[in-house]
């Protein structure tokens, strides 16, 4: 009887995330916090207005006290359900109120749940565009609308990537080119359309959401891929790690902190509870080395 009770309790504890398979190779916080570096946070699939989104918002605000990031990348599905003006308050402005009040800028991309008209919402800093790029320090960000990769968007990306002279090129869009999640997984048709361009122009890192887990993929053709789609939604236990998985966390909501310092990009994935579930560093490769791979 005692043994059975113990087994049941152990199972319940595990299901609640007590001994959840936190990402492998997850040392403690590893962001150097250099004064001249670019610091930003990454969140995806957030806009529920539910408790988990508020908890993540609080953890982000707490993290910012030690790691003063100046911008947040939003990976799409920034709003779920109804998207009337009041919903922008309940599903965006209130959960991230401390960050917004501190002057942190949010730069969003559109997911499948976002109204296309949300690109005009000032808080998302999209300038009314479905796809756009912007520069922060030595990094150029390319923001795409992966819902539909139409010919004008492809031409724009090819040209914008080719023109970019910044040290780092970081792309983000909603649907992942690589993912081991069970519900959606890798979007291979998008990958075939996009990846050659990303490789040709030496993109360093790609962030996506859509799958409601955190996952770091082993570098593919010289590019580091992250799935960070559990900022508000969560599909617990949806990760099915494969040979391409570097680390994953699917037991609780999570967000990312990133620091670009010179030729190094440091990252840290943080769970809703504040626990670090993954961290590491990516070294930028010289463009000529990348293009010869």
């Amino acid at each position: 009887m005692m043994r059975r009770t113990f087994v049941v309790l152990a199972l319940l504890f595990t299901a609640a995330g007590g001994f959840a398979p936190a990402a492998q190779n997850a040392p403690a916080a590893a962001l150097p916090g250099r004064p001249d570096s670019l610091k930003f946070a990454v969140i995806g699939d957030t806009g529920t207005g539910g408790r988990p989104e508020f908890d993540v918002g609080q953890q982000m605000a707490a993290a910012r006290a030690k790691f003063p990031f100046e911008l947040v990348l939003m990976l799409g599905d920034n709003m779920y359900g109804r998207q009337a003006p009041q919903d922008f308050v309940e599903k965006f402005e209130r959960p991230y109120a401390p960050l917004l009040q501190a002057g942190v800028l949010f730069y969003a991309t559109l997911g499948n749940h976002d109204n296309q008209s949300n690109r005009f919402y000032k808080g998302f800093n999209m300038g009314g565009e479905r796809y756009f790029s912007y520069v922060k320090k030595n990094v150029r960000f390319f923001v795409l609308d992966s819902n539909s990769l139409d010919p004008p968007q492809r031409s724009w990306l090819d040209e914008a990537l080719g023109r970019s002279q910044e040290d780092w090129k970081i792309c983000y869009f909603h649907h992942p080119l690589y993912s081991d999640a069970g519900r959606h997984g890798s979007d291979v048709s998008l990958r075939v359309a996009l990846e050659p361009m990303l490789v040709k122009h030496g993109v360093d890192v790609v962030f996506s959401g859509h799958d409601h887990i955190y996952e770091r993929i082993k570098p593919q053709k010289g590019i580091a891929y992250f799935v960070a789609g559990s900022g508000g939604e969560l599909r617990r236990g949806d990760a099915h790690p494969s040979a391409m998985t570097a680390a994953y966390y699917d037991q609780d909501n999570a967000f990312m902190l990133v620091e670009v310092a010179g030729d190094e990009l440091f990252f840290q994935a943080v769970a809703r509870t504040g626990t670090t579930v993954d961290s590491g560093v990516i070294h930028r490769q010289a463009r000529d080395v990348r293009s010869s791979q």
Binding site: N112, D114, N115, S146, S148, L149, G185, V188, L190, V192
Partner: protein, 392 residues
């Protein structure tokens, strides 16, 4: 001796009959095979080794969807043009009205159900796909209905309804092509029309000069104006040599020398195009189903039949008459026979949307509307209509 001659004649007659039967079966089955074969191959390929499949599909997409499909659209337009000529089945406007009303009801029902579903799920990105929800697979609805009610007055009714619906969809797709205009197309189109008119005046009977010269110029004109170039043959079709036809699409005798129809001469090429169209557009990773998939199925399998039945019902109350010897049970079966979008839904999807997850989920929905064929057969059996009336 006489016995020997009679036996030889008998053998010759049997060979002749067998030859004609084979040709007829070949001609009736052939139009249905190219596209589904391509789709089946694409689905198997995309769900086993997706990367090579998508690489091939994306490299062929432009040639197949924007050049090859011009032949398919041209063929459909030729069918319609000939049917509306004097002596053609659609020449009398009276035959049009009730199917036209049914088509309007079907469009309203399918588009309404689709839009209600996707907006109810707050996925407004999917609303652009509403014309896909309206599409009806002309050939499939014809053959499904024919297999249930071989000589019914519902056959031309359903064909008219499907053609009108798809014409409407084509107009929407032509105007919503995701490519910006480059200009200069209008002048090219005028040259194409002028040359086609000249050929017509010179009584050029062969099709290929119209297609190769005028069609190519018109294609360039459409492309440069940002219109879907698959519709490039539409303005050229009225200049092609025409002969009136009964409304028995895809089923005229293939070896009748007096019949000089476009599809008899271009059938093989169009079948090759449709095979590649299925191969290029039908491959989708089945895990990609989502809200749009269910929206399309709801629109096709529920919204359209209900829309057709409601519109025709109101028309009958207002004084229109159903075709002779047709009752409500037959009409219900016909409405479900027209539920599948398949070929035309795939075509509209490829015309409106670009690579991405929205296209993927709607492609799965377009393919899944093929369930309407089974639904029509099941309802015919339930209502004991046509060949199922004898089962009792």
């Amino acid at each position: 001796m006489r016995n020997h001659a009679a036996a030889a004649h008998h053998v010759q007659l049997r060979r002749h009959h067998r030859h004609h039967a084979t040709r007829a079966v070949h001609h009736r089955v052939n139009p249905l095979l190219g596209l589904p074969l391509g789709v089946i191959l694409a689905l198997a390929w995309a769900n086993t080794v997706p990367e090579p499949y998508f690489r091939l599909a994306q490299s062929l997409a432009f040639v197949v969807n924007e050049i090859g499909m011009a032949l398919f659209v041209g063929l459909i337009m030729q069918e319609i043009a000939e049917a509306t000529m004097e002596g053609g089945a659609l020449h009398s406007w009276r035959r049009w009205t009730l199917p036209l009303i049914g088509a309007a009801g079907g469009i309203a029902g399918s588009a309404g159900a689709y839009l209600a579903y996707v907006t109810g799920r707050y996925e407004l990105i999917l609303t652009a796909g509403w014309p896909i929800a309206c599409a009806i697979d002309v050939a499939a609805s014809y053959y499904v209905l024919k297999s249930i009610m071989p000589r019914s007055g519902m056959l031309p009714f359903v064909l008219l309804l499907a053609i009108v619906t798809d014409l409407f969809g084509m107009l929407v797709v032509a105007a919503t092509h995701p490519r910006p205009p480059a200009g200069g197309g209008l002048a090219l189109l005028l040259v194409a029309l002028g040359l086609a008119g000249l050929m017509r005046m010179m009584k050029v009977r062969a099709f290929w000069p119209y297609l190769a010269i005028c069609g190519a110029l018109s294609w360039l004109a459409f492309y440069r104006e940002g219109l879907h170039p698959a519709f490039a043959l539409v303005p050229i079709v009225p200049f092609l040599p025409h002969e009136p036809r009964k409304l028995d699409l895809l089923a005229d005798p293939p070896d009748d020398d007096t019949v000089h129809h476009f599809e008899h001469e271009w059938n093989t090429l169009v079948q090759v195009v449709l095979f590649f169209f299925g191969l290029v557009n039908g491959g989708v990773i089945l895990k990609g189903y989502d809200t749009g998939t269910w929206g399309l199925m709801l629109a096709a399998l529920v919204g359209r039949p209900l829309g057709i039945l409601a519109a025709v019902g109101l028309a009958v109350i207002a004084g229109w008459h159903l075709p002779r010897r047709i009752g409500w049970r037959q009409l219900v079966v016909a409405a479900f026979a027209a539920s599948s979008g398949f070929t035309f839904a795939l075509f509209f999807a490829s015309g409106i949307l670009s690579t991405g997850p929205v296209l993927a989920q709607l492609t799965i929905g377009a393919l899944a509307t093929a369930a309407g064929w089974l639904l029509a057969l099941g309802i015919a059996r339930l209502l004991r209509v046509g060949r199922f009336s004898r089962a009792s």
